[in-house]
């Protein structure tokens, strides 16, 4: 869904920096841990001291290739390159990254709704140090000094770059959420946006709807949550449209997202790739994965969220999107087992989504399937099913036994019918309104019956009885 005025569409490309879940840094043995005292995880290599030499962390390469294969990339021999720039976050005055020969290229990622987003590349690079700007209320432009902590300098990253194919803030959020699920499923990263182990930069431009040309883009940084991502993209796209409609044009630059202010502010004008004077790092021999290594990675690949959703969707008879929550909660295997044990798919999914947010506890898939069957038979009301369900999650056991011990017995329809007749006789005006189609009074009758039966009545049956009587 576009948030823009008529005649404009968004073009979005995302660059997601993912910190890999290694124990040590990319090129040295310093600890890769978050939140330690500043400058306690530093050594001559990550401080760029003269004479130090980098050696690549085998696990980082393994994780990078695993992620590459998970998003359908071609994994090729790759070369580390130096990206030269002067900024105090890298004491070496260059960042070691990959340039024209990245480890992973040409992949794709399928969103829950079936949209496929093209991945241009996913290359390995080192993270930079963390700068804190003093004075000026934390604003970079007014700072009086900058303090730098190099604990993060040299932490292994993979930068996943999409093609400019995303068309809305919602799609961008769905993409990042899907990538996060894949990172967690593969163990490549803990993917915590709030801790910065997954950081998203958004390249945003707009164009007249249906145009093929790409217009000037701005790169939005400092996006710290999925919510910020959506807000930042919508803000930026609207800013571009406003400029074009006023006869102006945006200039290519990096902009900072200000979450509190709900706007982006100009950063620096974007340097051309040429200005970074990339060249192959003479200290680091190329990486050359063997076919056997790649086969082993594919072999060890866990079933990814996309496949899990499609398996559950076809077993439960629901759409892929409707299985997202179950897969996210890791309850898809449980749901599949329950369906295999005879549980009706849609009911199983309903309970997984609505009533099992905290997990299934000690409940078995078989006993859950039995409960779903009792509900389908009308032997238990919706309220009773929930009560029994929570008991099974907490203490296990079979639904029929629990229902019996709680005194839940199915109400005979004729019993309900006579209760309803009595209610109608006592409340003729309300009944007349209901019969004339005023659905608001329906709740009154259902409520009265629930009260009279201490919640044992099945609300659905009561509704059916009322409709039947109103039509009679």
């Amino acid at each position: 869904m576009s948030e823009l005025s008529d005649g404009w569409e968004m073009v979005i490309g995302l660059e997601v920096h993912v910190e890999l879940a290694t124990k040590s840094k990319l090129f040295c043995g310093c600890s890769n841990s978050f939140g330690d005292q500043p400058n306690t995880n530093v050594c001559p290599t990550c401080l760029g001291l003269p004479g130090s030499l980098p050696v690549v962390n085998a696990q980082a390469v393994q994780y990078a290739m695993t992620l590459g294969r998970a998003i359908g990339c071609t994994v090729s021999p790759s070369v580390f390159a130096r990206k030269n720039y002067f900024y105090p976050d890298m004491p070496k005055d260059y960042q070691t990254t990959q340039y024209d020969q990245p480890t992973n290229e040409d992949g794709s990622l399928e969103l829950p709704d079936g949209t496929v987003i093209g991945i241009e590349r996913a290359h390995i690079e080192e993270d930079t140090g963390k700068s804190t700007h003093l004075g000026g209320g934390g604003r970079i432009h007014d700072a009086t000094a900058t303090l730098v902590d190099y604990n993060r300098a040299g932490v292994p990253l993979v930068e996943v770059v999409t093609r400019p194919e995303l068309t809305s803030a919602d799609e961008a959020r769905a993409y990042v959420a899907e990538l996060r699920d894949i990172l967690i499923a593969t163990g490549v990263s803990d993917a915590r946006m709030e801790e910065g182990s997954m950081r998203v930069d958004a390249n945003v431009s707009v164009r007249p709807t249906g145009d093929a040309e790409l217009r000037t883009r701005c790169e939005i940084k400092n996006i710290n949550s999925l919510r910020s991502l959506g807000r930042a993209i919508n803000y930026e796209a609207r800013r571009h449209v406003a400029l074009y409609e006023a006869g102006e044009a945006p200039s290519q630059e990096t902009r900072h997202w200000d979450e509190d202010g709900g706007r982006s502010t100009s950063g620096r004008s974007k340097e051309d790739a040429d200005d970074y004077r990339y060249f192959a790092c003479p200290d680091l021999p190329p990486l050359a994965p063997t076919p056997a290594e790649l086969a082993a990675i594919d072999e060890a690949m866990p079933v990814l969220p996309g496949r899990r959703r499609s398996a559950l969707a076809s077993a439960a008879g629901v759409s892929m999107a409707e299985t997202s929550l179950a897969v996210e909660r890791g309850l898809d295997t449980f749901a599949l087992d329950a369906i295999a044990a005879g549980g009706q798919g849609i009911s199983v999914m309903k309970h997984v989504d609505q009533n099992l947010a905290d997990g299934v506890g000690v409940m078995t898939a078989e006993s859950f399937a039995a409960l779903v069957a009792l509900e389908a038979d009308g032997a238990l009301s919706a309220t009773q099913v929930k009560t029994v369900l929570y008991e099974m999650v907490a203490s296990g056991g079979q639904p029929a036994d629990i229902a019996a011990s709680m005194g839940f017995e199915a109400m005979d329809n004729s019993e309900l019918e006579s209760l309803l007749d009595q209610l109608i006789a006592d409340n003729p005006d309300e009944w007349a309104r209901f019969a004339e189609g005023d659905s608001k009074v329906q709740g009154f009758f259902v409520g009265q019956i629930m009260k009279a039966t201490q919640g044992k009545a099945d609300g659905k049956i009561v509704n059916q009885l009322m409709s039947a009587k109103a039509k009679a």
């Binding site: 290694t22 124990k23 040590s24 040295c28 043995g29 310093c30 600890s31 005292q37 500043p38 400058n39 306690t40 995880n41 530093v42 050594c43 001559p44 401080l47 050696v55 690549v56 962390n57 085998a58 696990q59 980082a60 390469v61 021999p77 070369v79 990206k83 030269n84 720039y85 002067f86 900024y87 105090p88 976050d89 890298m90 020969q101 930079t128 963390k130 700068s131 700007h133 003093l134 004075g135 970079i140 700072a143 009086t144 000094a145 900058t146 303090l147 730098v148 902590d149 190099y150 940084k221 990096t254 950063g267 004077r277 192959a280 003479p282 680091l284 021999p285 190329p286 990486l287 050359a288």
Partner: protein, 100 residues
Amino acid sequence: MTKRITADEVTHVATLARLRVADDELVMFTEQLAAVLETASALEALDLDGVEPMAQPYALTNVLREDVVTPSLDPTEVLAMAPAAEDGRFRVPPALGDAQ
């Protein structure tokens, strides 16, 4: 000798390298860099068809280390090397722009 580099290009590269270059130096460096590039251009005369590009002259690939944490430096010692430190961090002049 063909003009291998212009004064504008030298100025641009100097800016990227944070070097201040005086006008007479600009003329000198432009001439010197042009001579360096002229010499390097001898490579262009070689017939390199069928030669695989290589990133390095060594026949090495996959030089890796195990993912093992080794001791880091003492932060007091580290910060003592810096011209200025504050609050356990390196203190540097205000940096305009963004982290990469």
